[in-house]
């Protein structure tokens, strides 16, 4: 049985919930009151994750922390077709890993800006926003040229991978941190494609679902 230590408004928890649902994995959710309760800084939670970060999962008695690590764990272990993390195609893993690290940088910038705006965290908001724009420029350029070569997803292939799941939430939520998406049309098209994936459910703060079945 998998237990997810979860906070509903966290983009990093959202991505884990997405993959759990896409893989059809039964799991138990243990809500952690990140804000305003700051329960992630409690002694009880710090024994589970000394870094005081969400999400964390417990799978068969093993604790796995870090959103990207959890995505890799779940996909490698429970997706026998290897769609989300193609273990059988080693040449694809390096690029996927690169974008998983990029997702971490999104957390450090866009998620921080959002915590500042929505949860009143004290941090350097100008530098968080500038960092977010820098990353969105990089992603927009990457996706624009990927489209030119006929690819819909962050890493070449017919289907999205954990790289897309990892990058999606904070990109889609950037405006909650005061980071406008207006200058990133290729990013917006990718967000649009992602939200049309079968079974996708948005979290609070994301743009509404486009019409189901509409042409792309």
């Amino acid at each position: 049985m998998i237990t997810l230590f979860d906070y509903a408004l966290s983009g990093n928890c959202f991505k884990v919930r997405l993959l759990l649902n896409w893989l059809g994995l039964a799991h138990e959710v243990k809500p952690v009151d990140f804000y305003p309760g700051f329960e992630h800084r409690s002694d009880a939670f710090l024994t589970i994750n000394p870094l005081g970060q969400l999400p964390v999962i417990e799978d068969d008695g093993e604790i796995i922390r870090d959103a990207q690590a959890i995505l890799v764990h779940l996909a490698a272990r429970y997706d026998p077709r290897g769609h989300w993390y193609p273990l059988d195609e080693p040449h694809r893993l390096g690029p996927i890993q690169t974008w998983l690290a990029f997702a971490d940088a999104l957390t450090a910038t866009i998620s921080a800006a959002r915590q500042h705006d929505a949860m009143f965290f004290d941090l350097d908001i100008a530098s968080a926003r500038a960092g977010g724009h820098r990353l969105l420029r990089i992603l927009d350029e990457h996706l624009w040229f990927a489209e030119l070569e006929g690819h819909d997803w962050i890493c070449p292939g017919d289907r999205p991978t954990v790289a897309d799941i990892a990058c999606f939430p904070y990109v889609a939520l950037s405006e909650e941190g005061g980071i406008s998406q207006a200058d990133y049309p290729a990013v917006l098209r990718w967000v649009d494609r992602f939200t049309r994936l079968k079974g996708f459910q948005p979290m609070a703060g994301m743009l509404p679902l486009p019409l189901a079945g509409a042409a792309t």
Binding site: P185, D192, L207, T216
Partner: protein
């Protein structure tokens, strides 16, 4: 080669980037824009502002024959006029309309005009051997962008102001011998990005 600031009528997107069933955001100077392709294949450019309560229309949906606002679900037809209100079945509709801008297409670009019509400049049309570049947004004003891009080899650039201190560079790159279109676009994008880094660092 050349770089100038677009005046009156300016590029606001690449034609191929405006797709069915989706919405594109852009700007004409200080005015935010929403672009949408209707189910008849035509591209519409409106001010990105709902005439009801000023919500950004681009957060809504392109339903093919109309654009639906996200907030109260008011729908605006191709000519911008309000055509339905969810909550007001049978009642008379207020006569309001989204602000519709004149549009033109040409050289792979979508053009919008600030006045009564959109007339792309005759000296900025793509020629044989040229490839449309990826538009590049800058966080400095259009005049500085044009000045910084004027000397870039093989590029012809038209800069669209998207605010007082922001602009987007559109343009064409001359393909080199044995170079693919994609490679030419990549090379131009790298050249322009380098110019942007320098310009923004200086600003």
């Amino acid at each position: 080669m050349t770089a100038t600031v677009a005046i009156g009528t300016q590029p606001v997107a690449l034609e191929r980037d405006v797709r069915a069933a989706s919405l594109v955001r852009s700007a004409l100077g200080d005015m935010p824009l929403v672009l949408w392709r209707c189910d008849q294949g035509e591209i519409h450019v409106w001010e990105d502002n709902c005439p009801h309560r000023s919500v950004r229309l681009s957060a809504g949906r392109n339903l093919g024959d109309c654009l639906e606002d996200i907030y109260h679900g008011w729908r605006f037809g191709r000519d911008g006029a309000l055509i339905s209100i969810h909550a007001a079945k049978g009642k008379e509709l207020p006569r309001i309309s989204a602000r519709v801008l004149p549009v033109a297409t040409g050289s792979g670009l979508v053009w919008a005009g600030a006045g009564n019509q959109a007339v792309p400049p005759t000296d900025f049309a793509i020629t044989a051997g040229e490839v449309v570049m990826r538009p590049l947004p800058f966080s400095v004003g259009a005049a500085s962008v044009a000045a910084a891009c004027a000397g870039l080899e093989g590029l012809r650039i038209l800069v669209s102001p998207t605010g007082r201190t922001s602009a987007t560079a559109y343009g064409f790159v001359r393909r080199r011998q044995a170079e693919s279109d994609a490679d030419a676009a990549r090379r131009a994008n790298a050249t322009l990005s380098a110019a942007r880094r320098k310009l923004e660092a200086a600003a």
